[in-house]
Amino acid sequence: MNHQRREVLKAGGGLGLFGLLAAAGLITPGEARAEWNKAAFDAKNIEDTLKALGAGAPASAAEVQLTAPDIAENGAVVPVGVISTLAGVEAIAILVEKNPNPLAASFTLPAGTEPGVQTRVKMGQTSDVYALVRAGGKFFMAKKEIKVTLGGCGG
């Protein structure tokens, strides 16, 4: 795994995507972000993931909403959206509790970007899905169970 990560770094010339973009003049260097959070993506349970994200024990908040269907026909493609009415949302992450590595994706939202993202994640089985939001330096979360039915008969 470490080896693989080194490959990634090598391929990116050690710069990562944002370093590359900055080098190409596509974004200003000030906007270059932290590199891929290996510790968080490799974590094997929610607790360790939260720790790696620096989130500790986030408070459940009604101001964070996870939009997803109650049932997903195919666990390989589960639409998940996170929106928040909190002020100053800086980052959002989506975690699937029962996946081998809970962290699916994390997002950094510069000022001016609306506090919401939608994506699609893989789920190995029915599981709680967490929406984690960082606003004003504090973490908040919401969770929802999504059932996965992998189709009935082959059709």
Binding site: A11, L17, L109, T113, E114, Q118, T119, K122
Partner: protein, 103 residues
Amino acid sequence: MADPMKIRASAKDGITEVKVLMSHEMETGQRKDSSGNLVPAHFITEVSAEHNGRQVLAAQFGTAVSKNPYLAFKFKGGAKGDKLSVSWVDSKGDKRTDEVQIA
């Protein structure tokens, strides 16, 4: 070379809505091919969206993001005709940038 993305960006009432589909297998490293060998992990790790050169979203993906990743978000500002570009880089260092005009 990686296949093109499909990007839609539309401005309305001072807010630009962006929807992106990226073409990528997002291999988890757990799948076996037809001869029973594990297919190595190969997935998009980082995504960045820029409006006229200013970053409006940065994302980090793990292997649990679905094949052909979808991403939708909104940002303040943006006018018809402005440039919106999206770039990604994957775990093998492949990358791709596509650009559209905001509609």
